[in-house]
Subunit: 445 residues, 2 copies
């Protein structure tokens, strides 16, 4: 491949702009620590989130600060680096400028887009209001509020209205991938413990949890026997698993599966994602999920100065396989991009194509079960859970979070208490909508 050898004019440092401080973006930052360049990191949140544990915030096992760290704190040793809390509104590829919603703009010599994905409702965007997904801290605290308020309202409601109580105590999770499986298991444990220990009128028998999957098994990326193990584990926790089920409609009080209308106050979406609008900013080709199609060197065709990584990119790697949209893949892509940039700065222009290394995939089900697929071996049950916990703790950014999350898990495990079980955003008391509607969404709508 032919590349322009000089990244920046000789009279100044190269300007590297990284958009997105997720796993991919931070891996680039880390890989460029020894590089003498002017680096700007832009994110629309002020914190990095450890997304694989967001479901634990949504089910009140952890607090937001346990799994999120301010970006400035993470990069504070990089005295040269600029961090901007801002949102990209457009990119001029020819002028090499990124435009931001604050009105500011930033010029680049090299641009890395690592802006992740949001939920996709497959053309039914009006479902989003009633069936939120979990991609950010605010998503997670919103779902937490919805779940906890449903329990509270069912308790206040008492025996007075059985239909309304059943609706309040039906929790539907849509999507049988790792997030859906983890959410359903965590809701089962939260509601079972809370209703048996801390409520007077509602009991575990009143609660129904349904996990809805369109395919014929859960965790389709895992081997079949682990899918079966996950299903059995969920059923032992009281989750009803519906396979081959098609969601036809969602409204404020129900989800319609096939022809069957299921009244439910809490509906959670874990069924699909849509890439961030990076392809639109650049005016280039995107696939059906909105992902920008990049080469196996992770650059945009005809634009070797623009890299796209993580959930925003559609990549066929050196093994001729599509790279999955998971945290380890984003990290590896970030490391690859940093290595490419280091080579270019040294004047070398040859890099071998990106190759995703699959070290294994994990999903956890409740307090002490999980499934792990290492390809060379498989684990389930408690050993899998233990490995899952250790791996997640290990990958948490920053010692403090690792320590706090560890202490929290230990505490949960020993006592079943959920210290983070706060309903926030209720300040105007009962002015909050009865369906737990997101105030932020409503405001912005």
């Amino acid at each position: 491949m032919k590349r322009p050898l000089s990244i920046a004019p000789p009279n100044r440092k190269p300007r590297i702009v990284i958009v997105g401080a997720g796993f991919g973006g931070l891996a680039v930052v880390r890989g460029l620590s020894s590089v003498d360049a002017e680096i700007t990191l832009i994110d629309k949140q002020n914190h990095h989130v450890f997304q694989p544990l967001l479901y634990q915030v949504a089910t009140a096992a952890l607090s937001p600060a346990d799994i999120a760290a301010p970006i400035r704190t993470i990069v504070k040793e990089r005295k040269q680096m600029h961090v901007l809390l801002d949102e990209v509104t457009g990119i001029d590829k020819e002028a090499r400028t990124v435009f931001l919603s604050s009105g500011a703009s930033v010029d680049y010599d090299l641009l890395i887009l690592a802006t992740g994905a949001r939920h996709s409702y497959f053309g039914n965007d009006h479902w989003a209001e009633h069936a939120p997904g979990i991609k950010t801290i605010d998503d997670a605290t919103k779902v937490r509020r919805t779940i906890l308020l449903a329990l509270e309202r069912a308790e206040t409601n008492r025996q007075e209205n059985v239909e309304s109580r059943d609706e309040l105590l039906t929790f539907v999770v849509i999507g049988g991938g790792p997030t859906g499986v983890e959410m359903a298991g965590a809701i089962a444990e939260l509601t079972r413990h809370a209703t048996s220990m801390e409520f007077r009128y509602i009991t575990p028998k009143c609660v129904r949890i349904k996990l809805i999957e369109g395919g014929d098994r859960l965790l389709t990326t895992f081997p079949e026997d682990l899918s079966a193990a996950a299903k059995t584990s969920l059923e032992m926790l009281g989750v009803e698993v519906l396979l081959g089920a098609r969601v036809n409609d969602i409204d404020a009080t129900s989800v319609t599966v096939g022809e069957d209308r299921i009244p439910a106050a809490t509906i959670i979406w874990a069924a699909g994602v849509q890439a961030s609008p990076a392809a639109i900013w650049l005016g280039v080709e995107a696939d059906r999920a909105g992902r920008l199609v990049v080469g196996s060197d992770l650059t945009v065709p005809s634009h070797p100065e623009i890299f796209v990584i993580g959930d925003t990119a559609a990549v066929i790697d050196a093994n001729n396989k599509a790279v999955p949209g998971i945290a380890p893949a984003a990290k590896q892509q970030g490391e690859y991009v940093a290595k490419t940039i280091r080579s270019r700065i040294r004047g070398k222009n040859e890099t071998s194509p990106f190759r995703y290394r699959n070290f294994g995939t994990l999903a956890t089900i409740g307090r002490k079960r999980a499934v792990v697929d290492f390809r060379w071996t498989k684990l389930k049950g408690f050993p899998a859970w233990f490995l899952w916990s250790t791996a997640h703790l290990y990958f948490l950014v920053g010692f403090r979070n690792r320590f706090v999350v560890g202490a929290n898990w230990m505490w949960n495990y020993l006592t079943f208490e959920r210290g983070a079980r706060l309903i926030t955003g209720l300040d105007r008391g009962m002015d909050v909508q009865a369906d737990g509607e997101d105030l932020v969404t409503k405001q912005a709508a």
Copy 2:
């Protein structure tokens, strides 16, 4: 005093309704643990808040879950007790019924109102939008968002607009009582550390913190030398203390003190409180601050079955002194009410009037200074801070919170890192109003 001896008809248990799960309400619950009665605890939040530490959430030193505990978890051993997440809308004194915003109602034989206070803007309610106070978790996360966003915007703004940068980096706290002093000190430490370590364009010299007090000294309930010590400590932290200063106006971008308009993006109200509307519910006399005037037995005149305690009550105690609106007083009143009820249930009707015991008052200034007034002795500086920390940890509800807060403080102390420094409620990115306006308030307005 003559009392009706029987609380409830002999054929059923007495029904005791407690409204408010603050320090006062929970002290009543605790004091009634051995009483055979049907007890209902109503609160409009699902959690008890340790209010004296709310300013630490507002300045990102602690997370919400560190200083708040779900009410159901606190009382879970009381299998007889009902907890309702609901809000009082009215009370029928004759029928002895409490009406709730969910539409439900609860009958009582004995009623305890411990509903606390909100901020008072002395007739300028439109100031509330621009100068929020800190009484709830949502208040605190809102102020945290305002402070952190101001820093972020000043950084993005850079040198481009000095006036706008100065406005963003001016933090005004109104009210020189313990809350105002603690807020000003905590903001000084947060901004100084953040601007010197983690921002590139803004420096500690750009930041101005003003504490505005109408009286001629800070902490007017403390001895004069401690007021002076607090002022000196704040000034050492870089806080400008304005005494005898009168706030004439507040708008979205400034506060007018006397004739002097001070542009400021962050304005925090710590100047006055207004009792909850308990007097209105009951249709009885209230004082100027909205507090219900009760006898020295803490009951409403002519209604020995209704007790009012804490910030909602105006009480002249057995020492002929007004009881202050602080946590220890609310706790003592709660214990007193529980004792009175236990006596009545045993058929005894004589109780000596309530007497407030002042064990000392404390205020902290930043990371290692405080002032303590024990009446028999006074402390300032580090020993006072150490005592303050220990006392607060001791009084935190629940071992888990005590442990987590202790670990957090230690961590803050050693590293100056603020793990809770998350800006939440930003999910729609820059759609959030530039003045950091509260989404919940706006939505409800």
